[in-house]
């Protein structure tokens, strides 16, 4: 078989497996039809619990019922300090300040907790924290990946869009629609265009040679990501054959893909209002007129070299691609249009690139003209903001979509039309082309289907994700796999009840958060209970709250906050905090010159796809090549080295120490007290005070420097488990 493939010149491994792909399944079995995740959301009344004293809301009723079924009882309520620290870290990714703790402790009103919950939900830090979760799912990065890993200069607007959406409590159904088809559904809203960046976050290589294969890989990425993120399904398993476990047909993979078959990258989508645009146009015209002669001559000088560069690339393409480019626009087929758009960036060398190759007199002349042109910079209008988006081709119709034999781009089987999961709806989707828009309307059909409250997956999947980030584990333990191989929900009645409430209250995430935060379930201690652990070792039924380590981003933000150095400036292009010496990146990493810019929140740190920021990577930041629903949590010596020896951490520890003593007098005892409050939100006990004092004495004697000794103490507070864990 291999030899045959070789002779045919098939270049994909998958092609070799063609003969082994399964025949399509005809009928779904009764068991498949009973699959929990595709059943309508059903609201049941929670059974009456024995313990009538415990619990605040409906969440607790469902949790308690399951626990009592097993003869278990939930843990007691955690103390106020633990609760506030937990809520601050979960909701904002930052520890509470001593002042916030004080305020909460002093508040004896019955609404004290609710006030704190409302305060946290109103904090702009909430959007920054929860956007990071969404960015994991969106495989967000600020660069292309592959070899040169170039910067995507405007993609950060998507990150900002996510932060704004969370802070504004944008209804989740709208959030979904904007990301799938914002350009089609809300053509007058620039933010909706930014939102389509969701499907543009695939790793890409603009100068690929085999463009048909590249296009297929991108479509696969989009299909997998949409299936996982919005539907919680492992669509990817159906790329080569019917899903081995779930009722997702081979065909269904390409039916979903077909919604995107007409999409292309748009990296210069204008975001300005019509007024701004008009203003820009006017100013530009002035500059254009005054500089035209100079620029014409420059362009002419470089033109031969530019043509040469373009031709070099053109010659490297196989004939079918060359044909797609040279065929006149009116004769291009849909697929040729796609190849044209994919080839174009390689055939669009800039004047500057051409000019670099000039020699002798022309080179001198070009340089002279360039300096002449520079004199007009003062009247040149600043570029208008642009977005990197995903839109439809303007071509006449979408290219056909085929089921691909074993997923090989060059092995088409039957043609398919856009459609949903066959087990839910086996008919083709109804596509309505939007009026007066150069777009197919395919994605609108998908967006509307996904955002329908009757869709059994979309809302359930999101509610479960929110639960996952609150408890460290979803009600269904595999948030992007609601399939047979995933974990069944430990409490489906609870999941459904929350889901129904979520869609009924306008898909509001903040309302869902509040419901969860107000529950007694959320407010339990993390204390161990040997009896409960025997019955339910994985705490699936939630007899306690789950203790868990913070993510690298939250660890860094917490250190910065406690050291008083966190710069809470929001939005804008990614920032470049210093890399440890010896780390080189292709694509570039220019350390920030101004310290305060380095000290922005982690969500604003530039995400270089091939070189994650080392501190985040050490603490399990996902690798941005595919959607990540659940981060690994590892314990490695590399993490310890990061916190022990990274010079940034030691610098923050020093600043933390200064922050402590600047704030409060000089007594050592008071300083220890204050440091504990800042790092852990609590005062140290007698034993801890004694240990701290002993350490300071020993270290001061060793270093003959009390300040340095205190900085060492602060450094170790940063390293301590209590600092690194949500408890």
């Amino acid at each position: 078989m291999r030899l045959i493939a070789l002779m045919l010149g098939l270049s994909s491994v998958a092609a070799l497996w063609a003969a082994e792909s399964l025949p399509p399944r005809k009928e779904f079995t009764a068991q498949q039809k009973r699959w929990w995740a595709i059943q309508p959301v059903t609201v049941t009344k929670p059974p009456q619990a024995k313990d009538r004293a415990w619990g605040t809301n409906i969440i607790d009723a469902f949790i308690l019922a399951k626990l009592e079924e097993k003869g278990l009882h939930p843990n007691a309520k955690a103390d106020k300090i633990t609760l506030l620290r937990r809520a601050s870290l979960v909701m904002t990714g930052l520890p509470p300040t001593p002042e916030q703790v004080q305020e909460f402790l002093a508040d004896n009103s019955s609404h004290a907790w609710e006030k704190q919950v409302d305060r946290l939900l109103a904090s702009p830090r909430y959007g920054e924290r929860w956007a990071r979760h969404w960015l994991d799912l969106a495989r967000y990065a600020d660069s292309e990946g592959f070899k040169s890993d170039e910067t995507r200069p405007n993609i950060y607007r998507y990150r900002d869009y996510v932060i704004q959406s969370f802070n504004a409590d944008k209804p989740y159904d709208r959030f979904v629609k904007e990301q799938i088809a914002g350009d089609e559904l809300y053509p007058n809203d620039p933010q909706a265009l930014v939102a389509t960046g969701f499907n543009r976050h695939f790793p890409d290589e603009y100068n690929a040679r085999n463009l048909m294969q590249r296009r297929q890989e991108l479509l696969n990425d989009v299909t997998d990501t949409v299936g996982a993120t919005f539907m919680g399904l492992t669509y990817g398993c159906a790329r080569c054959h019917d899903h081995k476990f779930d009722p997702i047909l081979h065909k269904d993979y390409y039916r979903l893909q077909s919604f995107f078959s007409n999409t292309r990258i748009e990296d210069s989508a204008r975001l300005a209002s019509s007024g701004e645009s008009a203003n820009y146009k006017n100013n530009y015209q002035v500059w254009d007129l005054k500089t035209r002669v100079i620029r014409d001559e420059m362009a002419k000088l470089a033109s031969l070299e530019v043509a040469k560069l373009d031709k070099e690339n053109m010659d490297k393409f196989p004939e079918e691609i060359q044909d797609a480019v040279t065929t006149p626009a009116e004769k291009r087929t849909p697929i040729q249009w796609h190849m044209y758009y994919k080839a174009k960036p390689q055939l669009s060398h800039t004047e500057q690139e051409g000019a670099k190759l000039l020699k002798g007199e022309p080179a001198k002349r070009y340089a002279l003209l360039k300096s002449e042109l520079k004199k007009f910079d003062a009247i040149k209008p600043a570029e208008l903001p642009i977005a990197q988006a995903m839109i439809d081709n303007e071509a006449p119709g979408a290219p056909k979509t085929f089921v691909l034999r074993a997923g090989a781009y060059d092995a088409p089987l039957e043609e398919v039309q856009p459609g949903f999961l066959s087990i839910l709806d086996a008919t083709d989707a109804t596509i309505t082309k939007p009026n007066r828009l150069p777009t197919s309307g395919r994605r609108s059909a998908l967006a509307n289907w996904l955002a329908d409250a009757k869709n059994p997956l979309t809302a359930r999947v999101m509610v479960n994700r929110v639960w996952h980030y609150h408890f460290g584990k979803g009600i269904a333990g595999t948030p992007s796999d609601f399939g047979v191989m995933g974990e069944k929900p430990a409490n489906k009645e609870l999941l459904d009840s929350l889901t129904a409430n979520f869609t009924a209250t306008g898909w509001s995430l903040k309302k869902l958060h509040k419901q969860i935060l107000m529950s007694s379930t959320w407010q339990q201690t993390t204390d161990f209970n040997a009896n409960a652990a025997e019955v339910d070792p994985d705490n699936k039924l939630l007899w306690r709250y789950n203790r868990r380590r913070l993510e690298g981003e939250a660890i860094r933000d917490s250190m910065l906050a406690v050291s008083g150095k966190l710069n809470d400036k929001m939005y804008g292009p990614g920032v470049f905090p210093p890399l440890p010496p010896g780390v080189v990146t292709r694509g570039g990493w220019k350390n920030e010159e101004v310290e305060s810019e380095s000290n922005r929140r982690s969500v604003y740190v530039f995400v270089r796809r091939n070189t994650r920021y080392p501190m985040f990577e050490a603490f399990d930041m996902p690798d941005t090549h595919e959607s990540c629903a659940r981060r690994n949590i590892t314990v490695t010596p590399g993490q310890s080295l990061e916190l022990m020896n990274n010079t940034l951490v030691t610098q923050w520890a020093k600043q933390f120490a200064e922050h402590v003593s600047n704030d409060e007098g000089v007594s050592e005892d008071a300083k220890i007290d204050r440091a504990w409050k800042m790092a852990f939100a609590r005062t140290p006990n007698t034993e801890e005070k004694k240990k701290a004092a002993e350490f300071l004495t020993k270290q001061t004697a060793l270093l003959s420097d009390g300040k340095a000794a205190f900085a060492d103490l602060c450094h170790m507070l940063f390293n301590s488990n209590e600092f690194l864990y949500i408890n």
Binding site: L16, N210, F528, M644, S720
Partner: protein, 467 residues
């Protein structure tokens, strides 16, 4: 329900445990295991008796020309200057060179050793070791360009995101030396294309990712103590331990917290074990010159080869050495100048490594792998260079139970495509894992609902590779 279907294979209990951890059991269980390992519990068992304890992968990045090194093709010289006959089948190439004329090889070829394997005059010293080598002349891969192909040679897929082979090995076998990372990467001055993606743990936990050993006295990031003295650091860590123990007093069930306390002890040890491993001052001048460290053109790669031997001695399992990192061997033009340089840079050091491993009795359980991400085309590029060729190229294997002095597979008459016994990258991976005692279909990790394995859905062990 039977979960062992399709991509899923029955596994031993420890790895099954890890799969569970990956499928949702959560970090607590995972950490308790890390903790157990940290406490020196038994290492995971291989699937079968291993032939090799360690792998040294000599990665000639950029794509060395097989038709100028290990796979002589008289037909090339015959057809020199003529278009490639249609019968060979025109491929899509990286630079669109398939219509260019055939370029002969000016190399002088000789048979070497008892086995009489052919090696060109570019590798006179490596040629002395042919009786310890199997040259696989029928390798093939899927990528056309460097980044995809280097990625595939490391992870099995041309698209980034999967675990590197070294990560799979670490996952499968654990670490034999707690104080050193067990999957290490040595570069020359530049990064390979794709950078750290190539030694990523992909969807496996970060614990298993490769660690780049950097030039200089401090080979690992953040390994240099931030403190002015050892005593100062020890005082701090002592204080940290007391903090952590206090906090853990009522959390005795939480083994992850213990693991974290342990990890500081490991980190402390690594601070001295790392620099010790790369400290060549204890090596004799004879040893250094054996590796070519006494000559400027072979110094850099010689140093890395010697370092690799020291790492193997210290129990490191998987060492990748890049020669020409950043597409050094990528001879689109002037192959004569390009390959002369890189062959010279690697010939003596690799000869030294093989000689040294052998004289120390280490070659028998150290698998040495040589190769690039692909080979080069029979037709010319720019008159005096060659384009990328993933359809047929050579790699060789020595030590670690590999049979000496044999060929596996052939390419066609011009070296364009593998014809007899084609060996895909997955087959090479399956074989390397097999040498280490791991079965590529049983080494699985649950990810997104699939029991993923190192060879995705392909791969067969090349049985005849081994004695």
């Amino acid at each position: 329900m039977n979960k062992n279907l399709g991509h899923h294979w029955p596994v031993r209990s420890r790895r099954e445990f890890f799969q569970q951890a990956g499928s949702g059991l959560g970090s607590i269980a995972l950490a308790s295991l890390l903790n157990a390992e940290a406490r020196g519990a038994a290492l995971p068992m291989p699937h079968h008796k291993p032939k090799a304890k360690s792998v040294i992968w000599l990665f000639m990045e950029g794509g060395p020309s097989h038709v100028d090194l290990f796979d002589p093709k008289p037909k090339l010289n015959e057809l020199d200057g003529q278009p490639m006959p249609e019968s060979f089948g025109k491929p899509i190439t990286a630079m669109g060179t398939a219509n260019n004329s055939i370029m002969g090889s000016p190399r002088k070829w000789q048979q070497h050793g008892k086995s009489g394997l052919w090696v060109s005059d570019w590798y006179p010293n490596i040629a002395k070791h042919v009786d310890d080598m199997t040259v696989v002349r029928s390798c093939w891969a899927n990528g056309l360009n460097h980044v995809g192909s280097v990625c595939q040679m490391n992870t099995g897929d041309i698209l980034a995101g999967r675990p590197s082979m070294g990560a799979w090995v670490t996952y499968g076998l654990g670490s034999a030396n707690k104080n050193l990372p067990t999957f290490t990467i040595l570069l020359d001055d530049k990064e390979p294309v794709g950078g750290p993606k190539n030694w990523s743990s992909g969807f496996l936990p970060a614990t298993y990712q490769g660690t780049q050993f950097r030039q200089g006295e401090v080979p690992i990031l953040n390994l240099k103590p931030s403190d002015s003295s050892d005593q100062r650091q020890r005082n701090k860590l002592g204080f940290l331990k007391s903090l952590n123990q206090q906090w853990s007093a009522d959390k005795q069930d939480d083994t992850e917290l213990d693991a974290r306390i342990q990890s500081y002890e490991l980190a402390y040890q690594m601070q001295s074990a790392g620099p010790e491993a790369v400290d060549l001052s204890k090596e004799t001048e004879d040893t250094k010159s054996l590796y070519g460290m006494d000559k400027p053109e072979t110094e850099a790669f010689g140093r890395n080869c010697l370092m690799a031997r020291r790492l193997v001695e210290r129990g490191v399992r998987f060492i990748e050495l890049y020669c020409g990192s950043g597409s050094g061997w990528d001879a689109h033009n002037n192959i004569e100048g390009n390959h002369s340089k890189w062959c010279r840079a690697s010939d003596k050091p690799i000869d030294g490594l093989l000689t040294d491993l052998k004289q120390r009795g280490m070659l028998e359980d150290t698998l040495v792998v040589w190769g690039g991400e692909f080979g080069r085309t029979p037709f010319n590029e720019k008159g005096n260079g060659r384009d990328h060729n993933p359809w047929g190229f050579s790699m060789w294997f020595a030590g670690g139970g590999v049979k000496g002095g044999q060929y596996i597979g052939t390419t066609d008459e011009i070296g364009l495509r593998a014809v007899e016994r084609p060996c895909h990258v997955h087959d090479l991976h399956a074989s390397i894992l097999w040498a280490l005692g791991l079965d590529h279909v049983r080494l699985t990790y649950m990810h997104n609902g699939r029991g993923e394995r190192p060879t995705i859905v392909g791969g067969e062990v090349i049985k005849e590779l081994f004695a």
